[in-house]
Structures are given as structure tokens and as C-alpha cells.
Symmetry: C2
Subunit: 207 residues, 2 copies
């Protein structure tokens, strides 16, 4: 199986780039809390408690609660963009690359649902500077998908009238997985990824 993600199943815990260990535990606790209750409904006491620390410990590693969200959002967007870039830049037809991009992007939104939820739905809680930085990453995400669709249209593989609108719809469909996906539901991330890749190929008139 050739996919854009190198090791989906055997992927080690993410966030390993975050050190020291206490800072990572706090960040993982924040991801869970933000995903469950939302940024504004989450208290710093809750985050510290989940990480097994006192409320004050949080401020050794992070200046504010918002810095936690910023770090999570930045790392998550970097990862999402990396997944799409890997799919977009592999060799193969536009059809193969679009299917790969959607299936791996969706697999990430389902499999890492808590992270994806925070990344996709808590943007407005960031301050202006952090938000601008993240929006720039989102434009890059959009450009990757639009590029594949554009190439498929030019090669005659796809039949698409509104390239920008269709790109928007493909990304919107994939991102919304983070809202409804249920770990205890009937579908695995792999199954949703495969279904969505098929639906997207139909949307662009491939095959």
C-alpha cells in the first residue's frame, strides 16, 4: 500500500518534537481538553490536572493559555500541510494523487480527531498575529489541493467547471470529518478515507 503518510498504523505518539516531557504532557492534556469542551470552556486548572500537575506548573512552560493553543494549531497545520504536500508531489496521475491526498488527509482528521478538532475549529480563539500565521498555512493547504485539481483538468482527467469552488468543497468535506467522526462508531479512519477518496473522484468527474 502506497500512501502519503509513511506510517499511519505504526505511527509513534506525535508531539515528540515537544520537549521537555512535562511541556509535552501539558500540551497533550490541552489538546484533549480543548477538543472535548472547546478552548474557552477549558480552564488552565483542568489542563494542569490532566497532566498531573498543579495549576501554576503550566506557566513554567507556557506564557499563557493562548500560547498552548497556538503551539497546537501550528504543529497540527504543519502536519496537515505536510500530508497534502507528500501526496501532491509524488509521481502518478492527477487522479492517483488526488485520491491519495484526500484519503490520507481524511485519515488524519479521523485518526487524530482530537488534534484535528482543535486545529480546525479553534482558530478564532487565537490573537491577530497567531491567526494570520495560521491563515497563511491554510492558504498553502488550499493551493496544494487546487494544484492537483488544476492539473487533472489540464490533462483531461477531470471535468470541473469551478476549480476554486470544487477545491473548497473537497477541503470542507475532509475537514468536517473532525466534527462528526466517532472513535467508537462503525467506521475506521481507513474506511472513511477510502469512501471519501471515491466520492471526491466522482465530484471532479474522474474515471
Amino acid at each position: 500500500m502506497s500512501t502519503a503518510e509513511e506510517t499511519t498504523g505504526g505511527e509513534v505518539e506525535p508531539w515528540e518534537e515537544v520537549t521537555p516531557d512535562a511541556a509535552r504532557r501539558l500540551l497533550v492534556a490541552a489538546v484533549e481538553a480543548f477538543a472535548e469542551r472547546g478552548y474557552h470552556a477549558t480552564t488552565t486548572r483542568d489542563i494542569a490536572g490532566r497532566a498531573g500537575m498543579s495549576p501554576a506548573a503550566l506557566y513554567i512552560h507556557y506564557k499563557t493559555k493562548e500560547e498552548l493553543l497556538h503551539r497546537i494549531s501550528r504543529i497540527g497545520h504543519d502536519r496537515a500541510l505536510e500530508i497534502l504536500q507528500t501526496a501532491a508531489r509524488r509521481e502518478g496521475t492527477a487522479t492517483e494523487r488526488l485520491a491519495d491526498a484526500v484519503s490520507s488527509f481524511v485519515r488524519w482528521h479521523a485518526g487524530r480527531r482530537t488534534t484535528a478538532r482543535v486545529v480546525q475549529y479553534e482558530l478564532d480563539a487565537l490573537g491577530p498575529d497567531a491567526r494570520a500565521e495560521i491563515l497563511d498555512l491554510r492558504r498553502q493547504v488550499d493551493a496544494e489541493v487546487r494544484g492537483i485539481i488544476q492539473e487533472g483538468v489540464e490533462s483531461g482527467e477531470f471535468d470541473v467547471i469551478d476549480i476554486h469552488g470544487t477545491t473548497l468543497a473537497v477541503l470542507s468535506l475532509s475537514i468536517d470529518v473532525a466534527r462528526w467522526f466517532n472513535v467508537h462508531g462503525p467506521r475506521t479512519p481507513e474506511e472513511v478515507g477510502a469512501l471519501y477518496a471515491d466520492l471526491v473522484l466522482r465530484m471532479v468527474g474522474a474515471g
Copy 2:
């Protein structure tokens, strides 16, 4: 033009069912505030201020801040379900009814974006009883769309393998419009509705 919504363009201000006038002004103010900042980040002082009243005035008409959200969510879900039911029960082929359902559902999510945003993204802020009531409405929404797709498959109009999964994707795509739609953006609700109806017909293999 025959659509599921009787009068999209000329639709009078909604919320006219909410009386007296002061209660409606507070509710409209709450919709705006919840849509902009989210339920938890909105203060009762902000809601009352937008409605031109003192903070205490809110509690003449609503027992709690959560009751405001509950009323908004209930009315919004009723309206969304009504739109889908009108499209599903009109006469015509499954293709026509699915296109009508998606275009009017999407048009509502784009045109009434602030309401739709609160309705679709603030469910978790409700208490258990209110949430259960709303979830029941969502099951009815799902059943309407699934019904049309099922009939299209049975009549041979559609080519769909996973009916439940495709229903989920169609609703997910439409609902997510409330997240990204921008009133000042390049597309009108009508244009997005038409584009999305076309994309959904492709997804189900119609035509």
C-alpha cells in the same frame, strides 16, 4: 424557479415567532454574539448590550444563558428539517428532489450563516436533556436525506455503494458551509447552493 424554500430572497426577518419584541431582540443579539465568539466566550452583558438593555433584563425573558442557546438551536433545527422535508416530499424524480434538498439546505446555511453556525457548532454547550432533544431532530434530518438517496438507488437513478456513508458526506458537506461561508466573499448563497447540488449529484452517480 421552484425551490423548497418558498421565498428565499423576500423572506421576512426570521424569529418573528419569538415574542414579545424585547425577547426577540435579545435572541437575535445572542445569535450574533454566539456566532461571532462562540457560546462560552459570550457574556450575558454582551448579549444584553447588543439588544440595548441592561444585563438584568435578559433574565426577565430567559431563565439562563443556556435557555437562549436552546431556543435558538431548537428553532434553527426545526427550520433546517422543514427545508429538507419540503424538498423530500415534493413531486419529482429522486435526482430533482436531492438537488432541491441540497441547494435549499446549503442556501440556508450560507444565507443564514450566523444562525446556522450556532445551530451546528454549539450543540455540546447544551445540557443533556436539551442535547437529546436536538439530537433527535438531527436523526430526522439524516433520515430525510437518506430516504431520497435510497429511493434514487432503488429507481436506478443513483449509483451508490455505501448509502449511510454517502448520506453522512452530503450532510457534512452542506453543514460545513456555515463554517467557511463569508458574506463579503465572492459567492452568493444561491451560487454555492447550485454548485453543491451539482457536486452532490456527481457523488451519487446521477445523470
